[in-house]
């Protein structure tokens, strides 16, 4: 039965493609085939941080069941330890737990043309898109904004590009978004990945030019997991710690408390529990706006807590 929750991967290759950029290739630790993945898919890696395990999502630049998953990781100055670990500690042969590939940033099947706009390390999903579109002869145009001294790195990553519409700009000022979007043929979809400022500017420019919302796509790793919090079950007095990568329902079950559930995806309503104290962070599709606002109920299969402690009538 297909119920694999995680992949156990081993580092097959690791190399610096530029001072702050490390490319790693991961294969299945047991040598088996890896699941294939769509262009734009990401995996979440469990990496040792300073105080606890960190779960960072990285886009797959390449995903081949035999050759492995390739990603390019920038060393982040504000790193809590995830990218620092990949840059300073990670070695060929290391074993890493990862989620199955997951796609929240996908090419649109009906696009007449794909306009790709990247900033900095935001190039990674665009590299996967370019490889896919090249293989299938899809019409595309790419604009990559590079920071100081990195233009040539991106030029290399995007090669070969004979006859293709690929432009690497040194800095944001090199790209006139309004002119670029205004010049696109009808039926073009735009995809953007990079700093929030760039993605917001693409969104705003497209909206101002009257692009349909459904033609504008930006990278998204989703909101799986969140901050850890405490649960108190009023009836039994049990206290349960909910970890960042665990759902409330999983934590309740792990504590040996039996509570009904069905879909485990926030849709069926079966797991509903009354809230006594605290503020839920609703992520379900079951409760109405009014019910959410009252905060009297929560769906523990997907929702979390905004307050450090949530007291449930269980």
């Amino acid at each position: 039965m297909m119920d694999t929750q995680t992949l156990t991967l081993a580092v097959a290759e690791a190399a610096f493609v530029a001072p702050g950029l490390r490319r790693i290739t991961l294969v299945a630790a047991d040598g088996a085939r890896l699941p294939p993945a769509a262009p734009g898919a990401h995996v979440t890696l469990a990496l040792p941080g300073e105080t606890r395990i960190l779960r960072n999502s990285y886009t797959l630049v390449g995903a081949d069941p035999c050759a492995g998953y390739t990603m390019i990781v920038r060393r982040s100055e504000r790193s809590r330890g995830g990218s620092r670990h990949i840059h300073e500690v990670l070695q060929v042969g290391d074993v890493i737990e990862a989620t199955m590939p997951h796609t929240l940033f996908a090419l649109h099947s009906q696009a007449k043309k794909h306009l790709l706009i990247g900033g900095g390390i935001g190039i990674t999903p665009l590299l996967a898109f370019v490889a896919h579109l090249r293989a299938r002869g899809g019409l595309f145009e790419l604009h990559q904004i590079a920071g100081a001294g990195e233009a040539c790195v991106f030029e290399t990553l995007l090669a070969p590009r004979a006859g293709e519409r690929i432009h690497v700009h040194a800095g944001r000022t090199g790209l006139d978004l309004v002119a670029l979007l205004a010049a696109q043929p009808l039926g073009t979809h735009v995809y953007t990945c990079g700093p929030a400022g760039l993605m917001d500017a693409v969104d705003a420019t497209a909206a101002a030019l009257g692009w349909p919302r459904s033609h504008v796509h930006r990278e998204d790793f989703g909101a799986a997991g969140g901050e850890p919090f405490m649960l108190r079950l009023a009836a039994s007095g049990i206290e349960i710690a909910v970890a960042g990568d665990q759902t409330m329902l999983e934590a309740i079950e792990a504590a040996g408390v039996d509570t009904p559930s069905l879909c485990r995806g926030g849709a069926c309503g079966v797991c509903i529990v009354p809230v006594r104290e605290g503020t839920p962070e609703h992520r379900d599709h079951f409760l109405s706006e009014g019910e959410r606002a009252r905060g009297c109920h929560v769906m523990p299969c997907v929702s979390r807590s905004k307050s450090p402690v949530l007291v449930l009538d269980l």
Partner: protein, 353 residues
């Protein structure tokens, strides 16, 4: 326990079909309580549940060989029952890989898949097939990849492209449809193709179900049960062929209803496909006659209560109105008024004679 196939069954014309005792006991009975109303009855399809039919991703049972022959017959008569839009090519290969991998892993005595890079060899022992091909190269298979593999699987399948915040039904095979047409629905959105269903839209069922489906992840499939009734063990109840089966509804009598009326259960499954990011929808139909089902006392009792209290709009939509009174009168004999246990399991291990 190794499955013994019944290769001589037919689902049209002379209707030679029946369930063994073990097939009855593993039947996915769709009623977990004594009433029925539409709801978002979806659950993860990842751990065994209360029916033997839930144990693996794609259940292969004693009707496998005959159902594959029925599919070939239906496709020979109407090739248009399999229809995939050009932008779903990648999803076709994803489907082929998922079904081959699952069958080979779950039934290693019956199916085998060997892979050297893109050079694959597929062995299907029940159907006597041995096929070498190149993954991704449709010219190396006798049929397009989706059709090739669904000809070797029980049940219908549809392929959904996910875009614009909804799902589009952009391909599939429907040779066992419960009165819906793929040719008519193809290209529609989730809410459009569910248009004819009564009550559920207003209850928000489809809005919630769609949100759930769009978040189904690779490696984490989901399932639900749906049901209707069919006269005779006929798999192909398509709107196009209505004249061939519709009039049967008026032909039931108190003497024949037990053996000729079948509960038709769809074990529906939802799989995210990895390369295409499409959603594969499996509609696996199980048929059991009232005579077979009422051998399980709990099911006989419950079936009576569910049918007696069924909302008239649902009875009308499912096409039961015509024989509903006859059905309830027939089932009343199996309801001794005792309470039933919650859940769909038969709650017995052996059937009484």
């Amino acid at each position: 326990m190794a499955t013994v196939f019944k290769p001589d069954e037919t689902f049209r014309d002379d209707y030679r079909y029946g369930n063994s005792d073990s097939a009855i006991l593993r039947f996915p009975f769709p009623f977990g309580e004594d009433g029925y109303m539409y709801g978002v009855n979806i659950e993860p399809h990842s751990r065994p549940g209360s029916s033997g039919a839930f144990a693996v991703a794609f259940d292969v049972d004693e009707h496998y060989v005959s159902e594959c022959a029925e599919r070939a017959t239906a496709l020979a008569l109407e090739p248009g029952r399999c229809l995939v839009l050009p932008h779903m090519r990648e999803a076709e290969w994803d489907t082929l890989e998922l079904i081959m991998e699952s069958l080979a892993a779950d039934y290693p005595d019956q199916f085998a898949l060997e892979r050297q890079g893109d050079d694959w060899t597929w062995t299907n022992r029940p159907l006597g097939l041995h096929q070498r091909f190149r993954f991704g190269d449709a010219t190396t298979l006798p049929h397009p990849p989706f059709e090739y593999i669904v000809r070797q699987a029980q049940g219908d399948f549809t392929l959904q492209d996910q875009r614009d915040g909804t799902l589009y039904i952009d391909g599939g095979i429907a040779t066992t449809p419960a009165d819906w047409s793929l040719a008519f629905d193809v290209g529609m959105t989730f809410h459009e193709w569910h248009g004819p269903v009564p009550l559920a839209h207003q209850a928000g069922v489809f809005d919630r179900a769609l949100q759930y489906l769009m978040r189904v992840r690779y490696g984490h499939p989901a399932r639900r049960l749906n049901w209707t009734m069919t006269i005779n063990p006929r798999l192909d109840t398509s709107p196009e062929n209505y004249p061939l089966w519709g009039p049967d509804r008026a032909s039931l009598t108190a003497q024949t209803i037990g053996s000729r009326l079948f509960l038709r259960v769809e074990l529906q499954s939802f799989f995210r496909l990895p390369r295409s990011n499409a959603l594969l929808f499996g509609i696996r139909t199980y048929l059991a006659s009232l005579d077979e089902l009422t051998r399980v006392p709990k099911w006989g009792r419950r079936l009576h209560r569910v049918m007696r209290d069924l909302h008239p709009d649902i009875a009308e939509y499912k096409g039961l109105s015509r024989y509903h009174d006859l059905l309830v009168a027939h089932l009343a004999a199996y309801d001794d008024g005792r309470p039933t246990e919650p859940g769909i399991a038969p709650d017995i291990n052996v059937l009484a004679g």
